[in-house]
């Protein structure tokens, strides 16, 4: 097998050196009743060309070359080519976790830069070296608030990504933490009155997402006031990282839990992505995940090390802040390079383009269908309510090799025929016009028949 660097002669020499007659001797510790005497029933060994062909077929079966209006926690942005050039270097790709600092300074310094830039973008004081993804980062951030306040219940906005809420429910359930869900108003934002009523002296934190699942920017200042006045912490989840280029970060938050996928990580059918937790310095010892710190070596030279490791599982074991060990380091490096490429000016311009494309699309759709939640500012997603079932509209749009917005009925049944549409800098005017045209056609054809039905009823 071509990955194995041994000849028959090598194996024989090694067995001889060990004093074993055959390799079977070395597997003698496995009780005979369990030893497999047959081949595993997996596909036969393939040549490299066959492997590539097999996956190419899968890629074709997977809608390659489609334009997309899907967002909802995973965003299609352009990935500058040098990201892959750099992360494909063997010294990054095949390196281990940087526990041995002297031979891992490349990884450690990159993470230190990553932590710095996340702080700059989020307005927080410290950031960790990545969590699995935005959903688990949010769940772990809530657990952190519970530990810090010593309180045992959590208030969560319904406008937080439904799957993030499911993950939190899973994590919270066995810890016996009650979760209270707060509705959104007709402008798409968190219902502040309902929030006031839901907070009790037992509330550890309020979890919101901004821009929220509908793309609407929350009134973070007011929410922070309400939470803090009761001694609860504010945890803000950010799913669309590009928003940080043009939308004020939620500086009033105590903890920010981000999904950084938008920053140069491929959509990849849902993973691997890149969660991050950022918070204030005073909370750092309760923060999960790895942290890189700057220090000097014995010759006074600047260097970087993993630090505050006593929070982590390999030392604290059952008292650890989390069980996380392997994180998303290589994906974090993609994010790091993306942030470096766009930088101070580029991130803002990128975000502006997203804003412009979305504003145009919302306007075009709004001519024929109903665009919801227009009473509050939004970033790059909007919700459209159509007369016809959005699944039906989408199958017609699919015929143009365009994937339409996400029908929301399964997540928010009360919104009926609503669907969530996202436009990024990758969305073309042609695609927007095509999709909007099909929606317009749908509205035109449905309305006359509705009027007919009403006529008949009269």
């Amino acid at each position: 097998m071509r990955y194995l660097p041994k000849s028959t002669a090598d194996r024989e020499a090694m067995l001889k050196a060990i004093g074993a007659r055959s390799i079977d001797d070395l597997f003698a510790p496995i009780p005979a009743e369990y030893r497999l005497e047959r081949d595993l029933k997996v596909p036969r060994q393939m040549a490299e060309s066959e492997i590539v062909d097999w996956f190419r077929e899968r890629s074709r079966e997977n809608g390659d070359g489609h334009a997309t209006f899907l967002g909802a926690g995973a965003y299609y942005h352009y990935r500058p080519v040098i990201i892959d050039s750099l992360i494909s270097r063997g010294e990054f790709l095949t390196a281990y976790t940087p526990y041995q600092a002297e031979v891992s300074q490349g990884t450690l310094q990159s993470i230190f830069e990553f932590q710095t830039m996340i702080c700059e973008l989020t307005g927080m004081e410290v950031a960790n070296a990545s969590m699995y993804d935005g959903s688990t980062a949010a769940a772990e951030a809530v657990m952190m608030a519970v530990r810090l306040t010593g309180r045992r219940s959590v208030v969560i906005a319904r406008s937080v990504h439904p799957e993030y809420r499911e993950v939190l429910a899973t994590y919270a359930h066995h810890q016996g933490l009650p979760l209270a869900a707060i509705p959104f108003t007709e402008n798409g934002r968190l219902d502040l009155k309902a929030l006031e009523q839901a907070i009790t002296p037992e509330t550890a934190c309020v979890l919101i997402q901004s821009p929220n699942f509908f793309g609407t920017i929350e009134d973070v200042t007011s929410i922070a006031e309400i939470a803090h006045k009761s001694g609860a912490m504010l945890v803000v989840s950010i799913a669309e990282a590009v928003s940080l280029g043009i939308v004020e970060p939620p500086c009033q938050a105590d903890i920010i839990a981000m999904e950084a996928q938008s920053f140069g990580v491929p959509l990849g059918f849902g993973g691997p992505y890149c969660g991050v937790i950022a918070t204030r310095e005073q909370f750092v010892r309760q923060m999960p995940g790895r942290l890189v710190g700057q220090t000097t070596d014995r010759n006074g030279k600047r260097g970087f090390v993993l630090t505050l490791a006593t929070r982590e599982q390999h030392i604290r074991r059952e008292k650890a802040t989390s069980n996380i060990c392997t994180n998303q380091a290589l994906v974090g490096l993609m994010v790091n390079i993306f942030m470096t490429i766009y930088g101070k000016v580029g991130l803002r311009e990128l975000a502006k383009q997203n804003l412009a494309k979305t504003a145009y699309a919302a306007q075009q759709f709004g001519k024929h269908a109903k665009v919801l939640f227009s009473g509050a500012p939004r970033f790059n997603e909007f919700v459209v309510e159509t007369s016809e079932d959005p699944y039906a509209i989408n199958s017609r749009i699919l015929g143009h090799k365009i994937v339409g917005g996400l029908p929301l009925e399964k997540f928010y049944p009360e919104l009926g025929n609503a669907s969530l549409w996202c436009c990024t800098e990758m969305t073309t005017r042609t695609a927007i016009d095509t999709a909007a045209g099909i929606v317009a056609e749908s509205e035109r054809s449905v309305k006359p028949s509705k009027e007919e039905v009403e006529e008949v009823a009269r």
């Binding site: 010892r285 490791a309 006593t310 030392i315 604290r316 008292k319």
Partner: protein, 129 residues
């Protein structure tokens, strides 16, 4: 290093000095030596209750965390705030870098603790392993 004779000691390497009503608590020189460079100390808030034999905080070095066990029961009146910015004071002089002061609930509890001589013997046996 000689162990102060006016202190009492626990097998978990804490010391306690008391006047019958109030007490001061710290960790011994042996403890700081085994821990290595101390980087962080976690202490309870003033006003909280501690119970003899139960953990009340922890001491961290780079690679390890050690729980701290209360030598006696009482209420915390003061914690040594200097340790928040300079935990290395414990390494420098563990017997004067006190951790916290408490009012004692039951001064009798101290009678079952080790004297300086007994503690020195105990440590010599431990160190021999």
């Amino acid at each position: 290093m000689p162990y102060p004779t006016d202190f009492k000691y626990t097998k978990e390497h804490e010391w306690i000095k008391s006047d019958g009503k109030n007490a001061t608590i710290g960790i011994t020189d042996y403890a700081q030596g085994s821990l290595g460079d101390i980087v962080f100390v976690e202490l309870p808030k003033t006003g909280s209750e501690i119970t003899a034999g139960k953990t009340f905080g922890s001491v961290e070095s780079v690679k390890a965390v050690s729980d701290l066990y209360a030598p006696a029961s009482g209420t915390v009146t003061e914690i040594n705030s200097a340790l928040a910015t300079a935990p290395e004071k414990i390494n420098q002089d563990a017997h004067s870098a006190w951790l916290m002061k408490i009012t004692l609930t039951d001064p009798g509890e101290l009678n079952s603790l080790l004297s300086a001589a007994d503690y020195e013997k105990f440590v010599a046996e431990e160190g021999g392993h």
